[in-house]
């Protein structure tokens, strides 16, 4: 148990609140009502049994499989790794081992220091503060209180960036009066090597405590902010420019967006106007009209099943965007169960099954291999017409993702017009910025004339907006 934990044992409630704050920084949404439940739970199961506390809090705070994983990880991180022995004496953590490494027991330390004071009496003031006594005797509680006081003095909770760590550690050490120890160490270094070792050991010990405190402050107060900042930047960054290092984070972000969208739009149902009469609801409705069944109700209500066909250009320039669009729409299986995907560059093929069977990352790789190459829209439209034209009807939405650059050959926009005339709506997504539409070999001007909506989709934010609008439209 580190000193901060010890100090906080007086106020487990604060500690729990800080933990909740910590979880919020990790994308788990926790409302004040949830916090209240967590408090009640903690009150019931108590803080003594770790596994009990963990499953109790988990049941109140983690609300999905995804959140359970995050919660378990955060719990281990925050409340320390499981210890075989939970009594506080034997679990006093890392410091004893360091002291063992230095082979100095509290008594030895004390002796060394008093010898040093005898040898150089002018250092007595430096080496006999309350803090030094506490460090010497290993009085964890006293140290913790001192560290906590210093933390409040320098307002360590204002920490925002990881790079501020060193600065805050220094500030706290100064507030603790570590300067005196440092001076003593400098004095003793040449004259009393043994006592120097002892003082250094004390300093090391203090430094560790302070560093732990600052790290925790960073984890609780700042990492959430910093993550939010990064998330925000990422969702506004062009998807093609996001480097490998941030891909994983981007994927997480995307998953979060999908969850949000799926929850917002739910399932799509509609009452039908034929079939078997539902007597009870009809009569209930008829009460308002004096028993005259004015508005008949029917047994069945159908789920409207919008169908989406996605055509993705997977040639080099657009592949990165295609990946995210496919990822997005396929994670919306719940809301859009009948999504079919096609990939093309020179020729076109259906990739729905590949995407369904394999994890998206792998699937996209494979699709790229199979269909990658120079883009030929004419060929792609022909293939598509052959494969799926007969399946397009009034509930079908066709989404095409591509830069509409056809290397100065005829893109067969007549086929595009034909597709549009058969489907409910045709959406063209272009990762290029609107300013460059129609420049060079871009056929975008012709494309805009032949589709219902044309939108730019280079960032995650734009992608989210497109999908959101799509779902609203499908729901209406």
């Amino acid at each position: 148990m580190n000193p901060v934990e010890r100090a906080n044992q007086d106020a487990p409630t604060d500690r729990l609140l800080a933990f909740i704050e910590f979880l919020r920084g990790r994308d788990i949404l926790i409302s004040p009502a949830d916090s209240l439940v967590a408090m009640e739970v903690a009150g019931l199961v108590g803080y003594s049994d770790r596994t009990l506390l963990k499953s109790g809090l988990g049941s109140a705070l983690a609300k999905s499989k995804f959140e359970v994983t995050v919660f378990n990880e955060a719990f281990e991180q925050y409340f320390g790794a499981p210890k075989t022995d939970t009594t506080s004496d034997s679990s006093a953590p890392s410091q004893p081992t360091e002291q063992e490494a230095n082979k100095l027991s509290p008594q030895e330390l004390g002796e060394q220091l008093s010898q040093a004071i005898q040898a150089q009496p002018e250092l007595a003031a430096n080496l006999s503060s309350e803090l030094v006594d506490a460090l010497k005797s290993g009085d964890e509680a006293a140290i913790a209180i001192a560290v906590e006081t210093a933390a409040q003095q320098v307002d360590v909770s204002a920490i925002k960036l990881l790079t501020q760590r060193g600065q805050y550690i220094r500030k706290m050490l100064d507030a603790l009066g570590e300067q005196a120890l440092r001076d003593a160490a400098v004095e003793l270094e040449s004259t009393e090597p043994a006592a120097f070792e002892a003082v250094q050991a004390l300093r090391e010990q203090l430094r560790n405590k302070v560093r732990d405190r600052v790290d925790r402050a960073y984890m609780v107060h700042a990492s959430g902010d910093a993550e939010d900042m990064l998330d925000d930047a990422l969702s506004n960054m062009s998807l093609g420019n996001v480097d490998q290092h941030h891909r994983a984070r981007l994927k997480r972000l995307l998953e979060r967006m999908t969850r949000k969208l799926a929850a917002r739009h739910g399932r799509i149902r509609k009452r039908v106007k034929r079939g078997q009469l539902a007597i009870a609801p009809t009569l209930r409705k008829a009460m308002a009209t004096d028993g005259v069944p004015f508005q008949p109700r029917w047994r069945k209500s159908i789920r409207r099943k919008p169908q989406i066909l996605i055509l993705c250009d997977v040639s080099g320039s657009v592949a990165a965007y295609a990946k995210f669009l496919l990822l997005f729409l396929h994670s919306l299986q719940d809301v859009l169960p009948r999504t079919r995907s096609f990939a093309f560059s020179s020729n076109l093929g259906e990739v729905t099954e590949t995407l369904r069977a394999l994890p998206v990352e792998v699937a996209i790789e494979r699709v790229n291999l199979k269909y990658g190459g120079a883009t030929d829209y004419a060929r792609a439209f022909e293939d598509f017409a052959r494969l799926a034209m007969s399946d397009i009807n009034r509930v079908t939405t066709v989404i095409i993702l591509g830069d509409a650059r056809n290397n100065n050959t005829d893109p067969r926009l007549d086929l595009l017009a034909q597709i549009r005339s058969k489907c409910r709506q045709l959406i063209w997504l272009n990762p290029e910025s609107q300013r460059s539409w129609g420049t060079g070999d871009s056929e975008m001007q012709g494309v805009i004339r032949n589709c219902d909506t044309a939108a730019e989709c280079s960032t995650l934010k734009q992608l989210e907006r497109v999908v959101d609008n799509l779902l609203v439209e499908l729901n209406s």
């Binding site: 009640e40 109790g56 359970v68 789920r303």
Partner: protein
């Protein structure tokens, strides 16, 4: 909270009590059940099919002796089937039967205004509790004694239905436009189960404690099999559970669940088997696996799955 739920007063008691009902559970499950009883909050149980989500509710009802009220969800389930319904037939019948009484009430009334005023001076008899047909949710909160309410497969119900549940689950009351708010007479212990086929709304999630039941460890599963199929030998159970856990590591359409393990164990007992050999497994495997593709891929690997197992048990 009424007496029947008192047995759920500590985690250890719950583990023990559930075990006597034949439901072997880990501490996590017991903790959540304990919290649910203590805080009066519903439990949302999630997990793959066949890990004992519904069984948990049934066993809790058995242990506490509380009646089990079950609401099976499906697409199109609405309030008239889940919460309450007016007995419209009875209402119509009564208006016909009471015609003469109505005539008496109206006797001598001058004009429309007076007639309506006279009618108003009587209670709204046709919209009273006598004409209310309680459905599972109303039954559950309106019972004298605490009951165990099981809302099964909530993910199958429509999105709108979740909103209907909210009032019942958080305040244990039902608002009926014609009657006002009916406060429940007892707090039920509520279990909602979900197979994760879709995300539930945040509002519903917020009102529940969460319990995720996954496939049990081989040890726990062994104990479950022994509890459910007492005739089976210990050695056989170990074999069986080990085999099933290996099968779960394979890439199958549907992984065998606990209930299927139990079914398989039962069928093996019926076949008087005392050890797992290839022929026996091949002939009885359809108790464990439900897809043709899965069956073939397991049968093809049968030698490997079994021989590995021998090695482990020999060692």
């Amino acid at each position: 909270m009424s007496n029947s739920l008192e047995k759920l007063n500590s985690v250890d008691n719950i583990v023990e009590a559930l075990a006597t009902a034949g439901y072997i559970c880990n501490e996590q499950i017991a903790t959540v059940v304990y919290l649910a009883a203590a805080l009066g909050k519903p439990v949302l149980v999630e997990g793959p099919p066949g890990v004992g989500k519904t069984e948990l509710a049934k066993s809790c009802a058995e242990v506490t002796g509380a009646p089990l009220v079950r609401l099976q969800c499906y697409e199109g389930l609405d309030e008239s089937k889940a919460i309450y319904e007016w007995k419209y037939g009875k209402q119509l019948l009564y208006t016909q039967l009471l015609k003469t009484q109505l005539a008496e009430v109206m006797d001598g009334a001058q004009g429309l205004r007076e007639s309506v005023e006279r009618l108003h001076s009587f209670d709204d008899v046709f919209f009273s509790k006598e004409f209310l047909e309680p459905r599972p949710l109303l039954q559950a909160i309106d019972s004298e004694q605490s009951v165990v309410l099981l809302v099964d497969e909530i993910d199958k119900a429509d999105f709108e239905f979740e909103s209907l549940l909210l009032e019942v689950l958080s305040d244990f009351q039902v608002s009926i436009p014609e009657l006002g708010t009916l406060k429940g007479r007892s707090k039920p212990l509520v279990f909602l189960t979900s197979n994760d086929t879709r995300d539930l709304s945040d509002a519903l999630k917020r009102r529940c404690l969460h319990l995720h039941i996954d496939f049990p460890t081989t040890q726990l599963e062994g104990r479950i099999v022994r509890a459910r199929v007492p005739q089976i030998t210990q050695a056989m159970t170990d074999h069986l559970v080990e085999f099933v856990s290996r099968v779960r590591e394979m890439d199958l359409k549907k992984l065998p669940s606990v209930s299927e393990t139990i079914d398989w164990a039962k069928s093996l007992v019926l076949l008087h088997a005392d050890s797992l050999d290839e022929d026996l497994v091949r002939s009885s495997l359809n108790a464990l696996l439900k897809y043709e593709d899965d069956l073939t891929s397991v049968v093809n690997n049968l030698a490997g799955l079994l021989s590995q197992e021998q090695k482990v048990t020999d060692a």
